[in-house]
Symmetry: C2
Subunit: 669 residues, 2 copies
Amino acid sequence: MTDPMPPVEPLYRPLDLETAIDLPRIAIEQVAPMLDDGRFAVKAVVGQAVTVTAVVFADGHDQLGAAVLWRDEQDPSWRRVPLQELGNDRWQAQFTPTHMGRAEFVIEAWWDRYGSYTYELQKKYAAGVPVTLELQEGELLLQQIAEQASATQAERVLRLLAELQQAQALEERVALLLAPDSVVLLAEASRHPHVVRSQRYPVDVERLRAQFASWYELFPRSQTDSEQRHGTFRDVITRLPDIQAMGFDVLYFPPIHPIGSSHRKGRNNSLVAGENDPGSPYAIGSEEGGHEAIHPQLGSVEDFRALVSAAREHDLEIALDFAIQCSPDHPWLSEHPGWFSWRPDGSIRHAENPPKKYEDIVNVDFYNTEAIPSLWLALRDVVRGWVELGVTQFRVDNPHTKPLPFWEWLIADIRTDHPQVAFLAEAFTRPAMMARLGKVGYSQSYTYFTWRNTKAELAAYFTELNEAPWRDCYRPNFFVNTPDINPAFLHHNGRPGFLIRAALATMGSGLWGMYSGFELCEAAAVPGKEEYLDSEKYQLRPRDYYAPGNIVSEITQLNRIRRQNPALQTHLGLQVYTAHNDNILYFGKRSADLENFILVAVCLDPHNAQEAHFELPLWEFGLGDDAAMHGEDLMNGHTWTWHGKTQWMRIEPWHQPFGIWRIRPVRTV
Amino acid sequence: MTDPMPPVEPLYRPLDLETAIDLPRIAIEQVAPMLDDGRFAVKAVVGQAVTVTAVVFADGHDQLGAAVLWRDEQDPSWRRVPLQELGNDRWQAQFTPTHMGRAEFVIEAWWDRYGSYTYELQKKYAAGVPVTLELQEGELLLQQIAEQASATQAERVLRLLAELQQAQALEERVALLLAPDSVVLLAEASRHPHVVRSQRYPVDVERLRAQFASWYELFPRSQTDSEQRHGTFRDVITRLPDIQAMGFDVLYFPPIHPIGSSHRKGRNNSLVAGENDPGSPYAIGSEEGGHEAIHPQLGSVEDFRALVSAAREHDLEIALDFAIQCSPDHPWLSEHPGWFSWRPDGSIRHAENPPKKYEDIVNVDFYNTEAIPSLWLALRDVVRGWVELGVTQFRVDNPHTKPLPFWEWLIADIRTDHPQVAFLAEAFTRPAMMARLGKVGYSQSYTYFTWRNTKAELAAYFTELNEAPWRDCYRPNFFVNTPDINPAFLHHNGRPGFLIRAALATMGSGLWGMYSGFELCEAAAVPGKEEYLDSEKYQLRPRDYYAPGNIVSEITQLNRIRRQNPALQTHLGLQVYTAHNDNILYFGKRSADLENFILVAVCLDPHNAQEAHFELPLWEFGLGDDAAMHGEDLMNGHTWTWHGKTQWMRIEPWHQPFGIWRIRPVRTV
């Protein structure tokens, strides 16, 4: 290739002596939480502790001290939290961010002179070794520390020194030096030799809703009693009380913009639309406007404002779809031809996945000379506009097909002025990109959850999401279905199938989502595909939301349990436990203080009763195998006492294919 | 504390648009081999391939290309090796360093325009979609590539373009564009958009002996026929043929310097030495000289030169101990008092591990004002002096109690002029420091091997050493014993016990070491301790090296097998396999091309015969469970054919407590 090679800089210079002498003597390694050596911010939530760990060590046997320094945009001065040693050079501390926006932390470590001194003194004194010389050294050390300390601290150190010199008995002098008050005073007064600090590690602090929310998705145009009448924002308002009652927090709409008519798709994705077919809302833009406009049949901007405001009254936030693609009728094609790719015959390049063509959609080209920076700014302004209308969440369509630097810039730009705004990545692609989207700023992500069905698959996936790097960059939003995904598991497993997936999603993550129809156990599929028959993407779908067989009350109770139990308000802290049956997934979730400890058992077989011996995780509470545990069934309120580690369960999926139990050690009840 | 807080720099600036547009569009992540984000060099060996992997990806569906660029000090121009995609965005390539010293590599990735074009063309053409427009686009692309290419390449591209334009049939034109020659030409001629390069990752290339060597340790003073006569370097020369015959490569001596007389330790570490007690060689320095001097009773500098030269004739290198500590009689104490710590009463601070005191030893203080940089330079000059006398290896005593920056500087300094020199870290401490010593430059390290005895312990340890970060920074030298460690396992398990440990060490790592006496199965211990009774550290120990019951012939054969089988010349490439018996550790080692594949089974029970069904790793060769495998016993030359995956073994430890078999698929024999 003719690409120039990197410049031939000097390959290597051996460390010179002056540099070596100035190098940190103390090593700080394996800092967590951390992503790509600090290139990206780790995720955190207001009011929840960030647990920082690091490996800190140095040569020799002297005592080290270490602390986390942290700060946030609200208060740019540094706060210091001492790190505690866990053994084998591992140290740990916590800090709790209190404001949305960026925070950062630094690890600091130092040679603890007074700590090393008292460590030796104590050992020798306890062993009966003469310590007269050590006491003399102690006085000298106090003198030195006083010389370097602040005036107030120096005065206190000198007072201690005077006491020491007046004391007669050896025991008394030793006791003075080892007294906890002295240790605290000298630690605070000391200027430490060999202080070393790590680089700064960024933290992205969001509100709790970025980690704990229940999403409900609907097509506003289907909120109608007849396929002949296009639903409106006003119709959606009448649905709000039901959606709130089910316990949802976020109401999400597929695109609400004008829909193109060129190459419009008909029912069931047919290539030719009928005269009255409304078209796919993902074919964005017509002569009536583009991404900034509202489809006229849905209502006006005023109607939209009214909907946002009504939703807020029902404790619901509005999430919009952000799909950066255009119908061939989008105004941008004529206004900004330089934002698109054109072919030699003058036609526009359609979206395609060769040999498939999507002729109702064209994509922008971010790096076209004429698109930099005008396209980037225009897209940002689209998002800004909706934020100003009260939209707080954006579900982004296929973000993995748009440049990563664009997202990193856009999300940072929006969240600087509007830190409450969150972006949900709808990427179904390879793992590295899924993680990277979280790193560049997405608060939440769609997941592989829909395709994890067996006990082994689910256990591995839930566990992986609790491990690095996922735990630090990726908040999984478990959608049980979407307009694009009618999961195979739901096709023939009836009501129990829907309840199984609802339990897994609601208990597995703090974030879950449901596309309307799920509560009615709708499952009719295009034969052989994970797609909905008569998909709402191409036609209006009026529904009877009170149809018999629905699972509304179960969903309501699951959401209620989530609100009442902090352990369930995150995907973190999940641990798979042993149940001796491959058809029963059994796991626990706990708050950091163990105060809230939930056990979940889901029968993955929708047809047959399953039984299992299982282990009550008494060890998590530091209890022996014969301890007793108070249990409470959170679905029906029954309570009981379990005795001993090994217990037995039976789940009949036709009644309820899962159990959710809160446990408490008997002593604390 | 009064330590100043870090400066209050701006906490965070959101990414601005100009920066975002210039950010790399392609992500390069998870580069291996790599240590601490490139802060330290990974280890490599001349002539052995370095396998580089990375995760490389970008937005969208276009094809990417990627390569490793690498160079070394010998040739600072960059060489390019294409990376191959392994799936899920993982890429891999290899390069083979040819010279000792530093090398470095960079990952480069780019948008592959022609690759993306042919990918689409091929798909559409195969699906029977019209491609006239695509062919036009192909011509345009060739035109563009020619414009940016070098003159020679442009000419070839334009020739292809002309052929294309003359061709009539569609098939002919498609075939021209997809021809392998065209693909190679266009790939080479293209200036790629969005080229991105990783940072540079350093590699420390050493000679094979840094990774593959057998060490033999002896006290020169004990090479005598009577405790009344101090052994000399000349005596050691007479031992060389035997040591060479056993198959050793490195002959290592504890300190050979003058020994202090103040507080000299007597036999068995007693506090008072008898008149004729020679003292511990670790109490370095007397009026006869310090670290640069030779103990007069061992011989002269000329004698030492003669020994080095004789050793070389026997294919043996000399390793010296580098113990940075002084007896109270060391000349440095009076010449450089500022290099040491003094107590308030004017006495010197002895080494101690409270409440224990080591009054025959004092330590230097690296960061004393008067020690910077004179002490650092003096220590460097000591090492340089011995290198100039022909010493190529240094076993460093307790390096974890000296500053890490000192080692990083010293090792780099020495190896810049003498890249063949290797340092072996004698650190027995917590894992983070063990790893870090390898990172700052130690070629080899003592290990926890001596305290890994059960199958579970050994399997876990051997496996861990093959994983990051250990595989990249730490070469384990498995010493079966040392003057300081008389392992408990050897105390009462007789000859089989020694053979078990010898087999584990020689087969487990490319590096192993033995302290003399091991071949005679010496095991007498200080009661209740892992220390030798009548330790050679405090007295002369003449030996009959031909005493009955010795294991010289077994050690000789083990070392011969190591020389004949490249798979055994490293600790890497080890895989523990299944043998259904907790007393049999069974593992394999293989060369990268599988040409050399060795199976090792060690009976960990020295007293009873053990039997096991075990799995022949047919799958490693891509063979089915019923395949046949040629086997050869490397201890006795027997050969046979194994049929099928499950086999059976019986080991009688009183005959030979291990089996070492080379396997080859039958088809290749």
